[in-house]
Structures are given as structure tokens and as C-alpha cells.
Symmetry: C2
């Protein structure tokens, strides 16, 4: 099968103009089908502040009320997405920006109200993906760029970008050998969050279970690891986690990040 | 050739929630390939005001400085576009939202600085359209929804929605019999702007020239008429101008609007 790169970037790349430019140049130079998923970064919070909309958090999770939904739809789906797309176009990379609503590419279920009402948040599974249309677009040499937004029953929904990346990866693994890459601010998955040289280069499922039991991982990396292993277990060929400057140029296995492969 | 509907809506539909809902329901019910182009409406101005960004106009034309460009990219490309797309999806219409940057569907030239510096404004011609990709998308039953934005050399550009509609119509008239529909607040092209019953039902090129020479048209309609006749002269089959509630249900010729056809 052909290789497909699915790459997720977050705030540390998006919020730094120079870093974003350098990332986009590297991304454009990948000579294979590829998909980019971006988070939102600080711009949404900044715009919300300017408009007097307070970001509400419960247990570390952002609550998306109607006003916040408008802000993230503007910032993620409009400003950030189109800036990335236009810059990639300048690198002759035929990027096309999407939310999950576009072409019904990712439909979601609005998260049910339980102990917490998360507001306009969408939960997704690999079955949420319109992989037929997405595959057709990739075949046309289109490079999809996803904002972290989905939809359900006529409304937009806020959805975690890491989850979108892994769900896309799983759904497309029937057509491609998928390498899912999570770019973040660290060199990889660390056994000691304060030591950049404690990168685990190859993280197997049994090592993951061991370290999890010992409580060796920093809380911040846990959702990413869950996303990674569920992707691997569902057919994604490999997951790579680390800092973007070291991940993209190198398409082999001697990488500085953390590589997770099928057992 | 197959028929293609290209429909442009502006502020009078976008700024009124009920009107927009009714329009989108009618639009979704058209059983033929179709493209929607939307303007921006008052939301961009309102957001600009809230952020303390003054809209600048010279000779009635909005000047797009860097801050205004960010606002219109957010509002037109994000909020308005995605609200329309998600609502159309709820009507089982497989809408996909675009700016000209997406898939390089409409590339532009930044308007040269002359007597006036319009700022980040893009000028386009029918050759600006990536009609190959657009045609492929239509063949996949995708319904393109365009925001009034284009791009050039890595930056987004503000572009008149009427112009986008006519340029798309011209460019696709090699594949389809195009009916280009401009929805606005009047029942059609009026000989007396204060009398809704002065609608010209069939506007030929010679009548247009006559009335133009007599100064019978209201200034506001002139750019729309120029766009219409240049579209007709470049191969678009018919142009219909009027109020949306009367234009969409009726796909025949006994319409309440103004119909312009090839001579």
C-alpha cells in the first residue's frame, strides 16, 4: 500500500510565526499523500478576551458555549485554517481547508450532558469519517488541512485535534500505510518530563503498560498515548511523537522522536 | 449539457436568520448541480467594531488593511461559511465550504496600488478558476459554497462576491448550461428604484444599452449588470436577478425576477 502521512500540530507551532513557517515548508516538501490537522492555539483565547468572552474550563476541559463556538469557528475554521492553506499554496502544495462539516467529512455526536455539560463539543469514531470522499480527494492530489471542528444536525462542534488525527488515521488505514505524527513541544515521550534526553525512542505496548502502572508518564501526554495506541490497535502502521523540526525531514526509523509501531 | 445553478446571496439574506434558513431550504431542494457564493453581511463590520477596527471606505469601496483582512477571513471564511455548510448538511445537501485558496480554486492578483490603495483585495478573471478540480468535485455530488475570499502568493485576499459568482459561471460554462442567479433585496432590475412593480422581466443587451444611456438604472445595480452581461457574453446561458423567495422554486422562465439570456 502507499504511504500516507497524517500530521497534527498544536499551539507551540501555531502560535509562533517563524515556527509555523518552517513547519509548513517541511510539510510541503513531503513527497507523498499527506493530511494536516491543526489545533487552535492561543488566538481563540485572545480573541475571546478581546470580545469579553471568558473561556470556561471544568476539570481542565474547555467548555464550549454558543459564543465560544462562534469564536472557535471563526479562528480555527477561518483565520488559522486559511492562513495555513494560503501559505501551503505558496509552496505549491495544493492544500484544501476543511472542518468536519465540509463534505460531511467528519460527522460527530454532540457530547451528552452528564456530570459536566461540555457544550458544543463533538465526539467522533473512525466510522464518523467520510473516507470515500477523502480518499477521492487524496487521489486528486489534494492535501486536506483540517481544523478541529466537526458537525452534527446543523451545528458546528468543537473536537479535539489529536482525536481527529487518530480517527482519520484509523479510517484511512484501509487504503494506506499510515504514519500518524503528533508534533508537540517535547522531543518525544519522556520518562522524566524535565529531562529532554529521557526520550523513549521505541515505545512498545508492554513498555507502555509497565510505565503506565508505575505512573512514569506526565499527565499531559496520557491522552496522546491513548490516541496513539488505539490508532495502532485499529490498523495504523506507525505513530511518531515529538518536536516537528526532527520528525518531518526524516522519514526513516532513526528518528529523535518516539516511535510506536504495530507489535 | 447539464444544467448548473450558481447562486449568489448577500447581506439581506445572510443578516436575517429566518431568511437564511428559508433560502438554504430552497437551495438544498434544487435537484441539479449547484454552487453557492455568499457575501459577508454586517457581521464582519460588527466584529470589527467590537475589536475597535474601523472599516475604511474610499469612494464606496471597503479598504482591506491587514486587520480587516483577518476579520473578513474569520467571519466570511470561518463563521458564515461553516454555519451555511453545517445547515445545508442538515438538509442532506453535501456542501463543502471554500475560499479561493482551498485547492487553489480561485487564485487572484492583488490589486495594484493606483490612485487608491485598496489593500488586500484580489482581482480575478475566468482564467483564475481551477475549473478542472471544481468540475471533479461537482461530479462527486459535492456542493461548493464559496466565501468572498481568494488568494495570491501566500496571502488571503478580499474579493467581491458578485465577481466570484460571474467568474465561476463563465469558467464552468464550458461544462454546463449555467444559470447564474443574483439574489438581492429587490424583486429584480427596476426602472424606478422606488417602485417594486417596475421590474424589467426580460433585459436584452440593447434595452440595457438604451436604459444605461438614459441613466435609468440606480447606481447600486450597475456593477451587478456589468457582471451579468460580461457573463452572458462569455458563454453563460442565463442570468436571473431578483429576490430569493421568487427565484429558486421556479426553474422555468415565468419568473418574477429579471432574466437576461443570450441574444
Amino acid at each position: 500500500m502507499n504511504k500516507l502521512y497524517i500530521i497534527k500540530i498544536g499551539g507551540n507551532v501555531l502560535d509562533d510565526e517563524k515556527s509555523l513557517k518552517s513547519f509548513l515548508k517541511d510539510f510541503a516538501s513531503i513527497q507523498a499523500p499527506k493530511i494536516l490537522i491543526h489545533g487552535g492555539g492561543k488566538i481563540a483565547t485572545k480573541l475571546g478576551d478581546q470580545l469579553g468572552i471568558q473561556s470556561q474550563y471544568i476539570k481542565g476541559r474547555r467548555i464550549t458555549d454558543a459564543q465560544t463556538l462562534d469564536v472557535v469557528t471563526m479562528v480555527y475554521g477561518g483565520l488559522v485554517n486559511k492562513q495555513i492553506v494560503s501559505q501551503l499554496q505558496a509552496h505549491h502544495c495544493n492544500a484544501m481547508g476543511f472542518t468536519g462539516a465540509d463534505g460531511n467529512l467528519i460527522s460527530a455526536k454532540k457530547r451528552p450532558v452528564g456530570e459536566i455539560d461540555y457544550g458544543f463539543v463533538g465526539d467522533i469514531t473512525p466510522e464518523s469519517v467520510n473516507s470515500t470522499l477523502l480518499y477521492f480527494l487524496l487521489k486528486q492530489n489534494v492535501i486536506p488541512v483540517f481544523a478541529p471542528l466537526t458537525h452534527s444536525e446543523g451545528v458546528m462542534l468543537n473536537t479535539n485535534a489529536d482525536t481527529i488525527a487518530s480517527v482519520l488515521a484509523i479510517s484511512l488505514s484501509k487504503h494506506f500505510d499510515v504514519r500518524l505524527i503528533f508534533c508537540f513541544e517535547k522531543q518525544g515521550v519522556l520518562t522524566d518530563v524535565d529531562k529532554e534526553d529521557s526520550v523513549i525512542n521505541n515505545l512498545t505496548y508492554s513498555l507502555y503498560q509497565d510505565l503506565l502502572a508505575k505512573g512514569s508518564f506526565h499527565d499531559g501526554i496520557l491522552p496522546k498515548l491513548e490516541n496513539s495506541f488505539s490508532a495502532i490497535q485499529a490498523g495504523v502502521k506507525e505513530v511518531l511523537i515529538g518536536e516537528h523540526t526532527h520528525l518531518l525531514a526524516n522519514t526513516g526509523y532513526d528518528t529523535k522522536g518516539t516511535l510506536i509501531t504495530q507489535a
